[in-house]
Every structure is written in C-alpha cells, then in structure tokens.
Symmetry: C2
Subunit: 127 residues, 2 copies
DNA sequence: ATTTATAGGTTACAGGTGTAAACTAAATAT
DNA sequence: ATATTTAGTTTACACCTGTAACCTATAAAT
C-alpha cells in the first residue's frame, strides 16, 4: 500500500465505504442504490468518483455484463494508514504520544480506560 | 474553534509551526529566516500562505512598522481538533476504538504500554 | 542621489476536488 | 417498433492548493 491511499478524498471515501460494507464486488446500480439513502449525488458524480478511484488504483473494475467494482485495499488498511499518517504529522511518529494526548484532553473516560487496561494485558501476552 | 481549522493545508501548517514554535508574534522577515532552513519557498510563496491563513481567520496580522503575525489557535488545539476529526471519521467517534486499533496493529510496544499504564493511573485519579 | 533589498499587494497558473451535464449505446418496458 | 432507462465515456467548470512572478513603495547601503 503506497501513498495513493492518503490521497483518497472525502467524497471518494464515501464510495469506498459502500464497497467495504458490501464485502463483495458491486455493479454500479447497487452502489447507486446504497448511496441514494445517504447522499444526493447524481449518477454522473458517482461515476466520476469511481473512475478516479480506479485511476488511483484502489478500486478495480471487472467487466461482466456490466462493470463490477471491488476495493483493492481494506477499510482496516485504510484506517491504519491514515492514522499512522496523523501520528507522523502531529505526534512525532509516536502512537504513545497520541494516546497520552487523548488522556490529556479527556477523550478517554474511566470506562474506556478500564476496557483498555484489559486489552493491554492481552497485548502484553502475545507480543 | 470552528471547521476552518480542519481546512488548514499542509503548506499552511508549516507556517503555523513556525509561529507556534516562536510563541510570540513575528514579522515576516523572521518567518522567512526560520523557514529558510527547512524549505525552499520563495518569499512570495510565504506571503501567499500567510495571506490565506489570515483569510481563514487562524492568523492575525497587526501593523506596526511592518506586519506582525500571530496564530489565533494553539498547536495543541490544532492537534486535538485534527485528531478528533480523524476519530469521528474513522473510529465512530470513539477514542477508545482508536487506541484499540493501535494495539491491534502493534503500534504500541511493551514499553509504550507500560508508560501508558502509569498515565492511566494518574488519569483515573484526577477525573 | 542611486542602487539594492525588502514589504505589501495583485495576479497567475497547473493540478486536484466536488459536482455534474451531454452524448452514445444497450437494455427494458410498452 | 418505439420510448424510457441505465451504463459507460467525455467534457466541464468553479473552487482549492502549491507555488510563484510581477509591481510598487519604502528603507538601507554605497
């Protein structure tokens, strides 16, 4: 996964979410239907976004009767890559700094901390 | 602090960093000098970026002999806002989810976890 | 006094982004 | 067979971003 990922724009991510949620390749009709509920985009807009995603190499289009679109990166990969990018830019590359900042700004409440403590134990074990 | 903050671009953040580091308002000459070490920007580029930051309302310019530029948001505010934005977009608004993901992707090593455990205790106490 | 450097203002321009219309071809409905 | 819908392709266009030139006025240097 290369830097292309960080260049997926907000609008394009909307399309990716549809594909990620589906978990399988989709024809454009299904993508349109899925988006109808959450957006007001014209068909041509959706097509433009799909085209750009293909150009960026993060979606593939396979011609059957019609094209079927499939994400080439997973949502998790995208999230992790984007997060690392933030960590590099704002927290000197240290995930620990980020977590410390979350604590400092009270973004984690007592409950969160309890649950994370448990996770920390697991993490400790299998490293 | 409004959404303007999330629209500070990469180049603009470079300028903000100079102002944040200085901790006081600076005339353009000092900004230029500070940037000379880390960038190849022409003077006019720096001026354009300062102008855009002023237009976005995140930097003020006060005319004395020459203009003095001052950030209207702090680096911490910026970092926290940007981080919250990421959390909202990628982690359903849950900072805990983000931390859990960092653990899952091994971005935190045993040492980090030890240090965070200590912080967690402090956080617990003063909440 | 004249050259040189700098500040401030205006303008530029290519590439990216959000959003979409227009056109063509094929499929479906009547 | 004709009208309507949809898929795919091409083109558009305004705004944003990165980067900078140009112009004018003033200040500093010689």
């Amino acid at each position: 996964m290369d830097k292309t990922v960080s260049k997926i724009t907000d609008s394009e991510v909307e399309i990716m979410r549809v594909l990620w949620k589906a978990g399988c390749e989709l024809p454009i009709a299904d993508i349109r239907k899925s988006l109808k509920e959450s957006s007001e985009w014209e068909d041509s807009t959706i097509k433009t976004l799909l085209r750009r995603l293909c150009e960026k190499g993060v979606v593939s289009a396979a011609k059957k009767e019609v094209f079927y679109y499939k994400p080439l990166i997973s949502e998790t990969e995208y999230n992790e890559y984007t997060t690392q990018n933030l960590i590099d830019r704002l927290y000197s590359g240290s995930a620990k700094n980020l977590v410390a900042s979350l604590l400092g700004s009270k973004k984690l409440n007592r409950n969160d901390i309890e649950e994370l403590r448990t996770l920390f134990k697991v993490g400790d074990r299998d490293e």
